[in-house]
Amino acid sequence: MPVSWLVLLLIGLSVIGYILGRQRALASAGGDSRALHSLPNFYGMNVAMSALVPAAAILGVWLLAQPSLINTTVSGSIPASAITEGSSLDLVMSDVKRVAEGLDFAVSSGAMSAADARTLDAGQTDVRATLADIGVALGSDVRPEVLQAAQDYRAMASTGTMAMTIVVLLAALVGFAISYSKTNLHYRARNVVERGVLALLIGAASLAILTTVGIVFSMLFETVNFFGLHDWKDFFFGTVWAPNFRGDSELAILPLLWGTLYISVVALLVAVPIGLFAAIYLSEYASKGVRGFAKPLLEILAGIPTIVYGLFALVTFGPFLLSMFGEGGTFGVNWMTDARSVATAGIVMGIMLIPFVSSLSDDIINAVPQAMRDGSYGLGATKSETIRQVVLPAALPGIVGAILLAASRAIGETMIVVLGAGAIARLAVNPLEALTTITTRIVSQLTGDGDFASPETLVAFALGLTLFVLTLGLNVLALYIVRKYREQYE
């Protein structure tokens, strides 16, 4: 039974449970709802939740666990002789899965009967040709071991799904029956329902932790795989990035890290002065009218999707820089050969970060108590002297926090650098040359047609983990600084 039907069935069961539970409670009180411990709706809800929640939880866990369980069992049963030279267990398994999916598709589209599909013999029928007829393309001919494994896979998958349907329905019915039989006028339905709802709320809140754990583990496993195939010393301390899909690549993070940091520094050089001065002007000098007009307009810059900035860098700003500094340009210098460069991506990214820096700093400057300014004015300081010598030092930790958050944004930014920074990994110093970043390499390594078990693809996970650790460190540091600062005035 497909999962969607199962879900519909569960929902139907819980609706019936609601109606029946409510009726039973009312009936036990002789139709007088005042005699009940809880409101009638709570009795209905109790039955509905007991039927739905445990069953849905089992369904969710089962759906998550089944694929990997089947995978381990089937890959354990593949004989070592089936893994040919130049191949790996993962490759064979992906063949197995494709054959199994192809056979399933053949059965569901009616090209093959279920019995035929089960008794297929690789020696007698050409499975590849049969499947190609119905539009399932296989990379190579199907060997008997692979077909056998695929049959095991299908058998296990269908048994698993069957067992899942039975277990889930059983759980729902048991939950239904128990809560229904307990329903009478003395049953404390409200307390039970409220405890259940609280558990659901806690579950929703822990999803945040689950996401973080998911992020870390999904990258950690593949990173460990990567370091099994590639020397970690070369990854962290090598100086050449030269992926080669035939193998034997040099995959070192240093050139990428250099490009990432270089572009981020350029972006911050643009964003921090403009953003900071804009914040100072808006919070200290501007009249209410100017503030009400300029602040929302500046914040529009933060709401524009990054793909827009990327296209702006690629099509408008890059060629503009090239026409200034390129061959035959306005300045008559030949410093730039490509529209894509560190300056192109960095400056455009800086524009994106202006409102980020300005609105964070604005909040922080506004949080500095007015008494400090008044004290400074009373001593005869001008406005700018007050700002420079009193307000900014007081706001400094917060501003540093804001800049660190902006830096973490810049390091993790993808679309602007994918379109504007180029693809050349090297340790160049000229800001008008193309460099590449960690994020662009993640995109290019994972969107190619590479084999998923090769170091050239797996390196993306190591890069992702590095990026995650880097930005996480900056964020934690920034939040720590900001929090510590806030405690001073509140």
Partner: protein
Amino acid sequence: MTDISQTPSNPPKTSIHKTDERTKKRNAAERRFKAYGIAAITAGLLVLVVLVGTILNNGLGAFQQTFVTLNVELAEAKLDKKGNRNIDDIKKVSTFGYAPLMKTAFEAKVEELGLETGLKSKDMAAILSKSAAAELREFVLEDTSRIGTTVEFTFLTNSRVDGYMKGRVTRESIANDKKISAAQLDFVDQLVAAGVVEKRFNANFIFGADASDQRPEAAGIGVSMMGSFFMMLVVLVLALPIGVAASIYLEEFAPKNWITDLIEVNISNLAAVPSIVFGILGLAVFINYMHLPQSAPLVGGLVLTLMTLPTIIISTRASLKAVPPSIRDAALGLGASKMQSVFHHVLPLAAPGILTGTIIGLAQALGETAPLLLIGMIGFIASNAPDSISAGLLSPNSAMPAQIYEWAKRAEPAFYERAWGGIIILLIFLVTMNTIAVILRRRFERRW
């Protein structure tokens, strides 16, 4: 006290009404400082103006397209040789079979208008889009009784002619171009004068599907708009309830302990994790581990849900916090349970704020591109709009920002125009969503 009335023995040489050197310096510094602030604001606003100007200037062209109107004789001899109107036989005639019809139509037009041109009919037909024959074939297959008649049919021109009409292509720029010649542009000029070629509004760009990289003139953003729509549906259905539930727990029920602290730190950190990391998570968990279909809006929606959750949680908590404790106390005093006070009183009062936060979170998710690249929502052409909800969720599709990226990558000026046009549509959606959020906030915001 008596000292004050005494006049100083040697009065100061400078008056306080006359500014001295040091004061001048300080005042100059003050003016400079203020000027820096004004310069920063101006720079920011100027960039905004330049950005919007660039978008409009480059993108508005995509909403117009150049069309040629011709009278095409759907000759029976070419399209249905057996003459029995059997649909299977007619389907056997490929688009190559339709090409001569267009050549003849051009010849007829030239004769009718009395134009003088040195072009052969083959070169005349070359100003049409590569999809022209396919369009005509579809038109015929739709209703086979049209065979044998002469119909007025409107064709797309190719992107070079379209660029010429929009001023992107000039006679100088095509000097080395194999796709079009100056003579063909002369011919286009003649046709424009005769009113056969004209530029008009192109609804296909808004509602149509993407086209192969040979035919920028036929590409549209409509199907990827559907992809975005289904992703937003997933985000709304998942992120709103989960986010609200999590915020209610953290704001109303959670005890102060290290687990709650851990969750809070986690959420504020997740809000700042680079979006591409969520893409890696989606690729590893949803596609490689759970085997959900690649490029499906369902997967995109799940990834964007995880990404939007922190935003929604943070804004929901802020609006729950804004509901005064007296409301909770009153409910508890009347005998409501804690749960009832939250769900019956606090949550409805916080609803406008939650909705505002959700819309802003959705707008953010709508414009996000990077995670979609990793789960494969680029690199193919979604040619048909999905016909059911499950197909919309599970069949491969693109999304608006991913489609824009795809066009930007094709490095052909006609596709850049499409990309900018797509950005205009994307921004219209974002502006609308944000305006709704602002209006909601203004309208329902309560000061307690």
